[in-house]
């Protein structure tokens, strides 16, 4: 039995990568910096950010759709990635500015004085003047890049080890993950935590060393970076879930106890996937916040992680492209409806203002998708392919009325 190469066994991967490439080229050709200018720079940034959210959704799908852990704390990792890269962005940029203003002093500043000046510039807003210990590596891009992956990874590892080891499952685990992100947000909100409290980190759109590059150009560069990283991580995720490893994690999702009796260390598998997903999410966050320009602890609010779960559910969990589609479609729609640009709906006697009503629509569609289309938007592809779901009504698969058709088994 000859084996087909990975790409041929997973044609959807090729389609996703091709669509992503075409999308990037089109946006580039319509951008202000490299093309006709039909897409304003702000829109390019929105699209770039959306790709980062899609990446976070892919990671969420690994954890939820494949491993079966409904993590409601993924955005904690996303924001941590953003904070880590933000430290360097803010420090290095402030340093350039401060150095320029101190250059005219009769006596050139010592490195110590320079650092002191940078610290009071950054932390004056929270009434501190010293550089916190947590900013020890902020001057080094390399160090912050390492921390960007290492800190969320370590947090996920420790949290996961504690939670999985005591066999916390299901809704209790979801609540724990939510508590984790809330605790982290509350800590970051404090002025003395060292991350400027509720001011957060700002000015992140200015990349040190690239001051001469216009934002129009930078935004396209970030779009390219986001698309590339999304493509690479998508490939990684698709490879992860394709082989025996994917088989085992889906088995853990469906019947954890049975997998234990097969001899697999279930906790180990959960830890690997959870930690890897946290790292991918952190990278997504590190690419997102320079495009957003600002990060503050509100980004870690539990509601943000719940949105992520809603996107994945609407897009179709248990399928990587479903998560991507869900994140892209729903987050773009969300920003359109809540941005005040959607025209109000005039009903007799009442005017529906989408800014207020969008949440209701989103909530309602989440409920409807969960009840009537558990496969989400990605289910459309099954439907087009002719695979029909049996009406199982909660009964298990098997002979009888609810059995699957042969065609569906191939899907």
């Amino acid at each position: 039995m000859a084996r087909k190469p990975f790409i041929l066994r997973n044609p959807s991967v090729l389609v996703v990568l091709a669509v992503l490439a075409v999308f990037t080229v089109i946006v580039t050709l319509m951008s202000q910096a490299y093309g006709t200018g039909a897409i304003p720079t702000s829109m390019v940034k929105v699209l770039g950010k959306t790709l980062c959210l899609a990446l976070a959704a892919v990671a969420m799908d690994l954890v939820w759709g494949y491993l079966g852990i409904l993590s409601l704390g993924q955005m904690a990792f996303f924001a941590l990635g953003g904070y880590m890269i933000g430290q360097w962005l803010m420090y290095a940029r402030t340093e350039t500015i401060v150095a320029a203003s101190m250059a005219n002093n009769p006596i050139p500043p010592t490195p110590n004085e320079l650092q002191q000046a940078v610290a009071s510039q950054i932390f004056g807003v929270v009434g501190a003047a010293d550089l916190p210990l947590l900013w020890s590596f902020a001057h080094s891009l390399t160090a912050q890049l390492v921390l960007m992956v290492a800190v969320p990874g370590l947090l996920a590892l420790i949290f996961g080890w504690l939670a999985f080891r005591s066999r916390v499952n299901g809704v209790y685990l979801s609540i724990l993950t939510q508590a984790m992100t809330l605790a982290l947000a509350l800590w970051l909100f404090q002025n003395d935590s060292g991350f400027r409290g509720n001011n957060g980190l700002s000015g992140l759109q200015n990349i040190p060393g690239l001051e001469h590059v216009a934002q129009a150009r930078l935004s396209v560069w970030f779009l390219w970076a986001s698309a590339t990283v999304l493509a690479l991580c998508y490939l990684l995720a698709a490879w992860l879930v394709s082989g025996k490893f994917g088989s085992v994690i889906r088995a853990i999702r469906d019947d954890e106890t049975r997998v234990r009796f097969l001899g697999y260390p279930v906790e180990g598998f959960k830890l690997v996937v959870f930690t890897l997903a946290a790292m991918i999410t952190a990278i997504a966050g590190a690419l997102y916040y320079p495009q957003a320009g600002i990060i503050n602890p509100a980004e870690l609010a539990p509601i943000a992680s719940i949105y992520l779960a809603v996107w994945v559910a609407i897009g179709g969990r248990g399928r990587l492209y479903g998560a991507m589609i869900g994140a892209i479609v729903v987050s773009l729609l969300s920003s359109w409806f809540t941005g005040g640009r959607a025209p109000d709906l005039h009903l007799p006697g009442y005017t529906v203002s989408w800014v207020d009503w969008w949440q209701v629509v989103l909530g309602l569609s989440f409920v409807l998708v969960t009840l009537f289309a558990p496969k989400g938007i990605a289910g459309i592809f099954d439907w087009l392919g002719g695979a029909v779901s049996p009406r199982r009504q909660g009964k298990d698969l098997g002979p009888g009325e609810g059995s699957l058709t042969e065609q569906e088994a191939q899907a």
Binding site: M1, R3, L240, G243, K244, F245, S247, V248, R250, A251, D254, D255, T257, R258, R260, F261, L262, G263, Y264, P265, V266, G268, F269, L271, V272, D396, L397, G398, P399, S403, L404, E406, A409
Partner: protein, 200 residues
């Protein structure tokens, strides 16, 4: 069975297994399974969303740690072994079907096939014939007898016809202690057994 496979902790007593008589009480379920104790549940527990081949591949004896599993790739040898196992439990034609599509009896056989793939040294089987048709029972008996040729098999069953067909040593337990032991005819004639189970 729950105690031996690590699902429940006993209040007292010990469980020793293997050449070095290692205590199983300090090990978790996965470690016990890796040490060579396989377990067949009463209800068929196969992974319904995955194909028969995937189910068997997962059970194949191999390193169970996450990273070796990640880099594990199917080889001609492993494909052959999966096909062999499927044929052995009578599922050669169903190998690409999802396990969820199989009939109840077929699922039981698939689970036995998965246990075979695990190559356990001790196999614990909990009421294997529950819910099976007569023809399915016969095939199950044959399978179990063949299994017992190369390893220790313990079957829990209260269906006397099925036990008779297995033709093996029978141990009668009552509230956790041994009541009688021997051939089926011997234990069914035992006075205490009759008293406890027929309630005279």
């Amino acid at each position: 069975m729950d105690i031996v496979t690590g699902k429940t902790r006993p209040d007292e007593g010990e469980v020793k297994f293997g050449d070095h008589s290692r205590s199983l009480l300090k090990m978790n379920e996965a470690q016990i399974a890796r040490a060579g104790v396989g377990r067949k549940f009463q209800r068929p527990t196969v992974f319904e969303d995955q194909s028969v081949a995937d189910n068997l591949t997962m059970a194949l004896k191999a390193n169970r740690s996450p990273f070796p599993v990640l880099t594990w790739r199917p080889s001609p040898a492993s494909d052959r072994r999966v096909a062999e196992l499927a044929a052995e439990v009578g599922l050669a034609d169903q190998i690409d079907r999802k396990a969820g599509e199989l009939g109840h009896g077929q699922k039981q056989w698939l689970e036995i096939g998965m246990l075979l793939a695990q190559e356990p040294r001790l196999l614990l089987v909990d009421e294997p014939a529950a819910g099976m048709t007569l023809a399915e029972r016969e095939q199950t008996t044959t399978l179990l007898c063949r299994l017992a040729e190369t390893r220790a098999v313990v079957v829990v069953e209260h269906d006397m016809d099925f036990v008779r067909r297995l033709d093996c040593k029978v141990t009668v337990l009552h509230q956790g202690s041994v009541l009688a032991e021997g051939s089926l005819d011997h234990v069914t004639r035992n006075r205490e057994v009759i008293e406890v189970y027929l309630g005279r």
